[in-house]
Symmetry: C2
Subunit: 144 residues, 2 copies
Amino acid sequence: MVNAGHIHLCRHTVHGTKMVLQRAMPGMVLAEASAYSDSYHCDAIAAADSIVQTLPKSVFLSALAADSDLAATWAATLARGVQAARFRSEIRSLPKVADRLDAWLGAGNHLPPKGRWQDVAHELSVTREALYRELARRRKGAKE
Amino acid sequence: MVNAGHIHLCRHTVHGTKMVLQRAMPGMVLAEASAYSDSYHCDAIAAADSIVQTLPKSVFLSALAADSDLAATWAATLARGVQAARFRSEIRSLPKVADRLDAWLGAGNHLPPKGRWQDVAHELSVTREALYRELARRRKGAKE
DNA sequence: TCTTCAACATGACTATGATCATATGAAGGA
DNA sequence: TCCTTCATATGATCATAGTCATGTTGAAGA
């Protein structure tokens, strides 16, 4: 689990290129699926100075087996993770920046204060310039 | 659970536009997260003639609580679902068709027989034309 | 106060995918 | 056999996001 910082979970494809599979922010568990398979060919790379907590897999699994409430909580966390990741992939399937922003705002998100807009651009997977331009278009449209 | 066909899980955003949150194919459970929340404001829409199995939420949850092996299997399914969905969102964050195809092939997928290429195009979230062109480029490159 | 740095902002140009139009070939049914 | 349909295929054009360049603003720190 990441307590602070920013960890990337990466896999090297057969062509040698690096692929990011997960970008874990504080509060997130890295590589949840690794608890359910014997081997897992990924690297965890700290994208920023980070603080993490670790727990042996066997301890984690036996705790889940012993406590069905804990197991249900864990399953709920995973289910919400599935939902969130599917939402992100659907957002990124929209070709236009305006549509991605609408969908993201429509899901209950709100524009962050200045200084954090680049985070939104990254979440939508567009360049910061494209997001700035879209926001400028909306400011202009709202004024008329 | 979808046995046959193709079900979309849709949410209507505050602007009234429809957003697909999940595209459930045979073998997949629809809206897993709904088992862990009291209300879930989505619609299930059959995108093709389909056959589904249903199970009351209470039965499902008590079965999980009673059988820790079943709970572990379910958690493993969810964890793999998280992984798969994250992979799709990372694929779709690549701006170029060639990169998306490389990443997808590098994850162990292989090109389907003719007649199924459009499915790949949809998985990569590009138009079929763009995929045909990329494949044509590769055929040409391989020949030289 | 002055310096520095990062985020915000915008213009110019380019690359590339989407769209529209058409054509070809294979499978299945009348 | 002929007709329909759908997947594959490719060309032409257009819209748009990426890229590069450049400038502005505001906050933190020396």
